[in-house]
Symmetry: C4
Subunit: 272 residues, 4 copies
């Protein structure tokens, strides 16, 4: 706090506008930023549609550069203003800000046709900027806590799903064979995932009786085991709703996991 007050006044003011959303100027800045990001993303999307890009080549080209330069200025302002520039640059948002600006510049130095297309995938990453939006919605952290708390159960679940998919995929490769579209084990595993997750494209589908029987079993399994991740996450969200566990640490015994309403440490009896 003390440190901040020694900054020049304009820096302080800019910091408020760019990094915070408490003042009305700060709020307007954030809204303009988000709208700009959305427009630039839509332009990238339209650029890929043949009929649109042929007609508005110039408009798309210039607006793309307009937003890239705008975001570049914003990026350098952030580095200039923030207290610890290095920390910002290597933070999640710092990296995202950088990646969302770079692709357009890269397309200058590598003007070759096929390369240009590869660069475009990086340009799409500008979408990540928008993820900042999430920080304004506090509920996101609630969900994150529930997901983190149930991460180990989810890993076990994913492991079981992958094992099932591996075994069923391999079996189907042998049962159905190449003449029915199951041309290799990886492709059969792809089919098994398409089936277990109930996506069911139908680009590959079992033709033999035995294959259809096994497919039926994996479908019912997939239909049933979706209950497991749902159960895990639901139970976790319910728990966080009911008792909000605080992040307090006992000064006497350093143990965590105290309830929000706890006054004394439940492990050693010391006052929290």
């Amino acid at each position: 706090m003390e440190n901040k007050n020694t900054l020049p006044k304009w820096k302080n003011r800019l910091h408020e506008i760019i990094f915070e959303a408490d003042t009305s100027a700060g709020k307007i800045f954030d809204v303009v930023l988000i709208v700009s990001i959305l427009i630039s993303v839509i332009i990238v999307m339209l650029d890929s549609v043949k009929s649109v890009s042929n007609e508005y080549t110039d408009l798309i080209f210039y607006s793309e550069w307009f937003f890239t330069i705008l975001f570049s200025i914003e990026y350098f302002l952030r580095i200039l203003i923030v207290d610890r520039p290095v920390k910002y640059i290597f933070s999640f948002y710092g990296i995202v800000d950088f990646i969302s600006v770079v692709p357009t510049y890269l397309s200058l130095f590598f003007p070759g046709g096929q390369y240009f297309i590869v660069i475009r995938i990086l340009r799409v990453l500008r979408i990540f900027r928008i993820l900042k939006f999430a920080k304004y919605i506090k509920e996101a952290s609630h969900l994150r806590v529930a997901l983190i708390a149930s991460r180990r159960k989810i890993v076990v679940f994913l492991f079981v799903v992958l094992s099932v998919v591996l075994i069923v995929g391999s079996s189907m490769y042998l049962i159905e064979g190449e003449e029915n579209g199951f041309t290799s084990i990886p492709r059969s595993i792809y089919w098994a995932i398409v089936t277990l997750t109930t996506v069911g494209y139908g680009d590959i589908s079992p033709q033999t009786g035995l294959g259809q029987a096994i497919a039926s079993m994996i479908m019912i399994l997939g239909y049933g085991i979706i209950a497991v991740p749902t159960g895990i996450v639901t139970a976790e969200i319910s728990r966080t709703n009911i008792s909000s566990v605080s992040t307090q640490v006992c000064k006497a015994c350093s143990k965590e996991g105290h309830d929000a309403d706890a006054v004394y440490c439940k492990y050693c009896g010391a006052k929290l």
Copy 2:
């Protein structure tokens, strides 16, 4: 109340029949109304089936006008009877009542072929009338409360889903390319939504190995993250269910866990 009694008696009576469902006359009116709406909707549907509309052109035409006039009379009666007509007209049901009547009249003034088809889509909106039915089922509000309480979490969830779909869709456009059906980023995003939601039409499906690997990941992701909205809504419905247990303690026996509507202690019989 006072105000209502100053109305002419027939107006009061009609108000009871049309707007309320407490008297038997009011109940009969509502049932007849709902049945009429259902029949008129079925007629609109059958009108679109070539073989049916060719054979029963006249029957469909006259019954359509019969119901339109019936609902028009009902609409004007409602305006005439209600205490504050302007408030009714601009209320949700007032607007729905109006929209459900207009299309057939519009088809008179715009008799051109292609326009007629465009008008038909408005005619379908008559279906909205039926939504009134929902108000008779009190449970709907219970669900609405749970959904409203979890709206912020759902927005965060939808935002994450849209980000994933945008990034994956763009990547697939570059990986699979136009020769495999991913002709533009919007179309690739459409494919990503079809896949993530486990719909899986199969009209567009990845052909390259890398594309199938990414598709597999988004399928498992989509299969897993359905747990999140389910968890949110379930936790909310559970909470509304549980909150009906009061935190009252019996003064006589100090026992807890009484229902919110309890008047006497269920353990010792003392008044709460």
Copy 3:
């Protein structure tokens, strides 16, 4: 009880074997019955497979008659033995027992080709017999209670789903038109159901940009609102797990809904 003891001894014994599963003879009878039903169902299924039915025409024919006569004898024994035959005949299981026997006899009197196929659908109803099996699994009633308790919420949910499907289906008929497979409103509604429920056959799929945009919205909606029935049923099962509400009625005030551990009526304070 008194009544039963006046029955002849053999009747009492047979009643035990056929209707109850407490004695070992009764248990063996039930197991044999279920296995017979399963075999007869498998025979009906195999009968429909061309290659199998051509080779084993006689075997299938005789075994079909064998099981039909077996089940007929069982049906008449049940009527003979039970205390109130009329009540049994018109009970759920009585009707199922009758329907599962009739089709084979009907195929005698109506030997015409096309009729025979129509009769076969009735023959399939023998499968209903197997539903008896459920009564041996007590947990079924637990699920039934949870489903009945949430039936009103489920009706509201189904109503919303049907409204959405009706409106979206009609809109898509106008947007996509007959050239893209949306040949009538009922067929478009069929497509909307296929999409909303995330089945996604792909036999009909939107081709226009606007159609794909609307399809995307209905997919995300369908993907999200599955949370609602899941939430309803989960909350209900959780509640039944936690507090088993007894079916006691207060003798003083005739009110219901007392908890299983209640000693006094929570409404009037009278002893239960």
Copy 4:
């Protein structure tokens, strides 16, 4: 314990390394084992891809034998070291260890082309080895408990699903008939499972109006009843979560809601 100490020292040491993961040597052994299993599984998968197996025939052949011999040595070491070899051999992991080694040897004695393919399916079972990994993740047992507790409800649910699929499948065989792809009852049942589980390949899809109406109903049913297994598992997981809150009451301040692992009252600091 006493018994173990009488073993030769090297046996004791090897037992620690191979069977336990407490020492750093034991941990390294487990990681190396898991990585080896993963590599050998990937080799089996790549072997099935024509383009890869043609180019690297020798590399795949030798590495397959390398891993088989490695796992064989490990298998015999386990039998040698373990206290009760017979118990290990017939335990789950013992059988999995054996099955994961056998297929490559079998391919020696049965060199015929078509047999070789059949043997390959057994070779794939080596994947089962990896299931050991699960024992390192304690959460798996939490999930297993929840699933075992709800197994009876799940059986009832599966029974209802199979009955629905049987009846609908048979009906569709009669309604749609062979000209629309419903060539036999088993195939129609396969279609019903594909539809009810919302997989929806689209390889078979109803063409008649009545067929599409029934398909719509089974889709909505399938979309809705997924709530049931989800509800069952969620309620069970929630219960196991909640049960970790003890019913202890503090003797000093009479407050409840202490966690199962609490030693001191979190409200007043008194010893529980």
